[in-house]
């Protein structure tokens, strides 16, 4: 119940004085009240919670977050490469990017 899911606004209309919309969640379409995101247009992404869009997804920020995560990952890989095997605190992970490490029975290998 408490989960909010991102979906794409397909159409906007009015019903009983409220802006309503049809929102696509990866193929499943549902009705949502758009009263709290009055500026959204078809094609925008919103987070829908119990039938109400509570926030418009900022696409720029969404992409930036992923880019930052990816860059930080490279820093981690560099850092890991400089670490000796004797360090106890940081985990030593196999490296799927290099593709050379044998698969481990490790939780992060998936």
């Amino acid at each position: 119940m408490c989960l909010g899911i991102p979906g794409k606004v397909m159409e906007v209309r009015e019903e009983a004085g409220l802006p309503m919309g049809r929102v696509d969640f990866g193929g499943v379409r549902k009705e949502a009240c758009l009263a709290y995101v009055p500026d959204v247009k078809p094609g925008d992404y919103v987070i829908v919670h119990v039938g109400f869009a509570i926030s418009q997804v900022d696409e720029e920020e969404a992409l930036r977050t992923l880019e930052l995560l990816d860059q930080m990952g490279d820093l981690v890989q560099q850092e890991l490469a400089t670490m000796g095997p004797g360090m106890s605190a940081p985990a030593v992970l196999d490296d799927p990017v290099a593709g050379s490490a044998p698969p481990q029975r490790g939780g992060l290998a998936s």
Partner: protein, 389 residues
């Protein structure tokens, strides 16, 4: 699905987890206060892969779980009336009251209906003018704009056969109650992303300062949670205690002003009882006097119901993070999702149900951080070396 799958990328998750291990030098205890986050953390085994000594406590973040037993009993008393159509979010139907639950009542002939949105409950009222339609308005700040809008619309449309049984709770007062408790172990919070999408995060700023506790507004996908945990640990390691926002794509500092306006048009802040915790001052919403005729408690005179929990259930200690489901003698034996004793086993967002669904303590091997990746025959069965606690 866009904005979901990208945030489940196992390669990025591995990198984030490595970064968490790299920056962590000391043991830390973090708490998330959101059932959706608890579910992701437990399902992906994120808590089991954290550096040794870093602990996630699953806080009272499931609205179904913190709804007090007596509110459930009030719902049952109202739903049993022949003139009533009782409507609710699906999760509340199997929450056990003292004697029965809404689903069992429905099987015995009561008109109990699941609705996806409170506006659907209002539609039921419009379609059944000869019946009283009651909606079980539970939830945190996230459901409040929806529930408030249903009441507001009922007034606008002149619908008199609609009322709500209010059990609305607020996150910041619960955080302060936990932080002020002598047994508190929490050193940093992940704040619930969608609560903050509605309310913003200004109300968390004085909490971070007063209790010197980092608070990171965090999303729900595995990468969101890993980044939120990393941001919280970075603050702890640096001795900082600020409110930071990981969930930038959906949350702004001021929240959703339009949603807040509707909430405060209909509701006012009042004392609330939390299941397993007890009464917390100014910790929930109640209807404003101008909307008193939509208050089901008054309409059906059920305000005086008070009840007791099952003796074997340690839901309270689990909700406050003092114990885990694995400490409970009833977990997986007397109490399981088909026959829940207490609320955390009922809702899929509850800590006990999340543990059970992930197979913890019931003999099912874990598959940490497997995420959306295709199932492999050599699926990982144990956490990485050095990361397991």
């Amino acid at each position: 699905m866009k904005y979901l799958d990208e945030y489940r990328d196992p390669v990025l998750a591995r990198k984030l987890m490595a970064e968490i291990h790299r920056v962590t030098t000391r043991p830390w205890t973090l708490m998330e206060v959101c059932g959706g986050q608890t579910h992701t953390i437990v399902k992906q085994g994120i808590d089991e892969l954290l550096p040794e000594g870093v602990r996630m406590i699953h806080g009272p973040g499931c609205p179904v779980c913190v709804t007090p037993l007596e509110q459930v009993d009030k719902a049952l008393a109202i739903a049993a009336r022949p003139d009533v159509i009782f409507t609710s979010y699906g999760d509340m139907l199997r929450v056990p009251g003292s004697a029965t639950d809404l689903l069992a009542l429905k099987a015995r002939g009561a008109d109990v209906r699941i609705v996806y949105s409170p506006l659907d409950a209002l539609k039921v009222a419009l379609a059944n003018p000869d019946k009283q339609v009651v909606f079980f308005a539970v939830g945190f700040e996230t459901t409040a704009p929806a529930n408030a809008m249903a009441v507001w619309q009922a007034q606008q449309l002149g619908v008199d056969n609609f009322s709500i049984l209010v059990s609305h709770v607020l996150v910041p007062p619960a955080m302060m109650a936990l932080l002020g408790s002598p047994s508190n172990q929490v050193q940093a919070f992940l704040a619930a992303g969608h609560v903050c999408a509605v309310m913003g995060w200004t109300e968390y700023e004085p909490i971070a300062e007063r209790y010197h506790v980092p608070i990171v507004v965090t999303g729900f996908e595995p990468l969101d949670l890993l980044e939120g945990i990393l941001m919280a640990i970075n603050q702890l390691e640096a001795g900082r205690a600020e409110v930071e926002n990981q969930y930038v794509r959906a949350v702004r500092r001021e929240g959703n002003r339009l949603a807040q306006e509707t909430v405060f048009r209909v509701f006012e802040i009042g004392e609330r009882k939390w299941r397993g915790i007890g009464e917390i001052p100014s910790s929930g919403y109640r209807l404003k006097p101008a909307f008193a005729r939509y208050d089901a408690e008054a309409k059906f005179d059920v305000g005086d119901i008070h009840t007791q929990e099952h003796p074997a259930c340690i839901a309270g200690a689990i909700l406050t993070g003092e114990r885990t489901p694995l400490d409970c003698t009833a977990y997986g034996t007397l109490c399981h999702p088909q026959k829940p004793l207490g609320a955390p086993m009922v809702s899929s967002e509850g800590t006990c149900a999340a543990f059970y669904a992930a197979g913890r303590g019931i003999g099912v091997p874990a598959r940490p951080l497997a995420m959306a990746a295709p199932a492999a025959t050599n699926a990982p069965t144990t956490p990485i070396e050095g990361a397991a606690r």
